[in-house]
């Protein structure tokens, strides 16, 4: 089977790091317009990662803003040897994982519902809380299958969710994922396989 290449807007953005250098230089010098251009270019990728990882549109937008603010403040320390996109994705991934960790310490309704669904025993009350009448984020998922996948994706562990989002939604290569997460390629490969198998079992009728 031929290797399947995921070509998305995000992967195209990753390959255009040479075009970013000029904007990065100007933004480092305090040019707000140059940094706004970088935000426009990568906001889709960053926001998608935050939304798929956090499962909430408002949280995702707030986190995306914080990710770009962190990147702007860290621009003077950005080494031009690596891709700006890889550097930005690393900031975004770590920020989302930190958000999930802080959520784990401060449980919310959605996570309580998610853990109960993971145990196969969802109570009607939790179902009512987790799946109320469609809100803004539900409106995004027009397809029932998408909503189901998003919900099961959120039920996975953060580690499995991360590799699935980075690989199967954001389209990064194994090497980039390993660079972002600080993992060896073999570890990325095995973790991705286990995550896919778990999602398959959850989606299986």
């Amino acid at each position: 089977m031929k290797e399947e290449t995921l070509i998305t807007a995000q992967t195209r953005a990753v390959g255009q790091h040479d075009d970013d250098l000029a904007a990065i230089e100007r933004a480092s010098a305090g040019d707000g317009a140059a940094f706004e251009a970088l935000v426009r270019k990568y906001q889709g990728w960053v926001f998608t990662l935050a939304y798929r990882m956090l499962g909430d549109r408002a949280d995702a937008e707030e986190s995306a803003q914080e990710i770009f603010l962190k990147a702007y403040r860290a621009l003077p320390r950005f080494e031009r040897k690596s891709k700006f996109s890889t550097w930005l994705y690393s900031i975004a991934t770590n920020h989302c994982l930190n958000q999930l960790e802080s959520r784990r310490r401060r449980p919310r309704f959605q996570e309580i519902g998610g853990s109960e669904r993971a145990q196969g025993n969802p109570s009607p009350l939790v179902e009512a809380i987790v799946d109320p009448t469609p809100g803004p984020e539900q409106a995004l998922e027009q397809d029932d299958m998408r909503r189901l996948v998003q919900r099961h994706l959120f039920d996975l562990t953060p580690e499995h969710r991360t590799v699935l989002v980075l690989r199967d939604i954001q389209g990064l290569a194994y090497g980039e994922i390993g660079e972002l997460l600080g993992l060896a390629p073999g570890t990325v490969r095995s973790r991705l396989h286990r995550a896919r198998m778990e999602l398959k079992d959850r989606l299986k009728p």
Binding site: M1, G32, R196
Partner: protein
Amino acid sequence: MNCHDATARFSDLRDGHLSGDELAEVERHVTNCPVCRTEWVYFREAVEALHGLGSVEPSPGFAARVRAKIEAPPWHRRLARRLFIPWEIKLPLEAAALVLVAIGITVIYQRSPEMGQGVERPQVSRPPAQIETRQRDGTKLKRPAFREEERGARQPQVTPLTKGVTGPLRDDALGQARTDQDQRSGSTVSEPTPPKESPAPALTSPREAGQPTPPAAALEAKPTERLESADSARPLSALARSAAPAPFRIITLRTRDVASAEDRIRAWIGLVGGRLLDPPAASAPTPSEQRTLSLIVPVRAVPRLDALLVELGQLLGREFDVPPSDEVLISLTLSPKMAAPSGSE
């Protein structure tokens, strides 16, 4: 290859990481094993479903909002601005605080007259040592200085009257005051009355005494003298309170006949509602004997008294600046006037 080996390679198979014999073996097992073929279908659909989620865009204006945040001043500068920059709020608060403090000080000052006296009379502060006070029998009595200050604070209104009262006038007034007090209270206790005949008239005319006219301040007793006579001055202050003759005049009348002048004055003062503090002399005064009288005269009758005195002889004297009152205390010295050669006056 068994089912476990085949399913372990599903991801590699999905991502195209298998090749050669390994790829052929996995494809062969999945084709021939119905369980693994079903699992492979589910696996592939799950991954495809993830791909189908696609990307999500933030709300419009996201990039502009991020730019606005990065161009906003840091939090500590914003905090400082919130605290200090809105002068239109802070200044009125400071002004209001100043106004409240000023009002508070004014109210406290008005409700505490001692504070005002303390500000106006800083000389009250004296050495904290004990003050020697001489009693009437000549023995010295030591007492704390603050008692003197307390007395001064309790009787600030008698200070002008006691300023100029010295010598026989004070003693006469003292005796009369004690008599008045006894009559009012019905007390039978009598204290020794000071001698009426003073060895030397203290309120003689400055011109006659050959001394310059004593100013009001000069008539004030020295501190030690005042302390020595503090006990004897107390009844006089009581008299002053009862008669309220705050103003004070010192007059010398040079007349040819002292006795007849005294008689005229005694008769006149009863008509105008005044009173004479000095009782009549035990023996009829001679025309050439000097007499000193203390009169309390209604203010409205003072011009008439002056007219009478001018009629009786030559009038000398002065009047001190004192607060207005209904009555005036007058020390009148009747001095014999020698017959001058004609044309000398």
